[in-house]
Symmetry: C2
Subunit: 220 residues, 2 copies
Amino acid sequence: MEERKRSDERKISKAVIRRLPRYYRFLSELYERETERISSKELSRLMGLTASQIRQDLNNFGEFGLQGYGYNVAYLKDEIGKVLGINKVHRMILIGAGNLGQAIVKYGGFTNKGFIFTAVFDYNPNRTGEIFGSHPIRHLDTLAQYLEENPVDVVVLTVPKRAVADIVKIASRRRNIGIWNFASMDIKPEPGMTVENVHLSDSLMRLSYNLKTDREMQRD
Amino acid sequence: MEERKRSDERKISKAVIRRLPRYYRFLSELYERETERISSKELSRLMGLTASQIRQDLNNFGEFGLQGYGYNVAYLKDEIGKVLGINKVHRMILIGAGNLGQAIVKYGGFTNKGFIFTAVFDYNPNRTGEIFGSHPIRHLDTLAQYLEENPVDVVVLTVPKRAVADIVKIASRRRNIGIWNFASMDIKPEPGMTVENVHLSDSLMRLSYNLKTDREMQRD
């Protein structure tokens, strides 16, 4: 049974996975506003999805809605949190003590989901020991040793492209590690490595495309 | 004909639009490495897509490949750039002079695609006049007047959630404006407004999900 459930979970489409954090976000806001329950119709209006889309998405993970009652907000939020794996603490280290790194380390929205920074690294020896968002900066040369001695779930990369390959090589010695990559290149995961590449430029280009087509529509 | 082409363009699926910037990124890298042409097979290996997926995606916008030759890198890059609308200059203003704002204003990867910052705003009067990535910070109270007097294509929002509604209201007086939103809430576009919401938390939650399922697979 356990086996079957797991391999079922893996078949969930990427599109559903992409939407899941958005469900979690909207449910968290409802929860903060002390909303106890919500119908799939209301939730669909709020999120700009169809009610049947929502039912279909959520049915991938279990039976959450009750006919005539709708969804219990707190329960659904927690269940989606479990599916996303954010019901446990993730220990993160930051590599690259620049502006983007600072914005990420200081942002409270990650901490309150259990993503906790435990160390910060930078290649520049002049910055070793400098306090960076409550962490003393460690030199990148000590990364391999740190990874051997400390539990780390996620490595956050806010370094230039050219620095990526060496760091990935070091991180790959550890199994079950996640890389949250902000360097402007796709990292291909090594065995035992899970990668999420963030490309802010891609998002800006999509905005540019939509702006262009919206303008064309208004001229029609 | 022109009419038909335009309405055809609008039917292109969101999934294709989501992939387009990635094509542009890979082609730009090939171009920088002075690669003249590439087969759909090579491109598919590089990008981790099937060759037929690539042909299908690109056929939405025209005939780019030649049998037995493949794609001309410079030409395809420029054509995708045109589809994305990044063949012209976009004037951007930043609102919210914090760490994330600084990372964005200073990042060269936007400028070289024609996304140019022309002004920076912040609500804190003590910071007015301070130089922020080569721009003197203006007070948020002067935003409405600035938008009346200057051409602006994109407003980049790196402000807390609570500041968003007022800014959107001011920006909505201007037609054909894009909002690149980093505040942790979805902005619903007003008429004449194009919005791209960036949610870094969503990306981190996807990483958490994939890390969890990868770990389960390794235990099997």
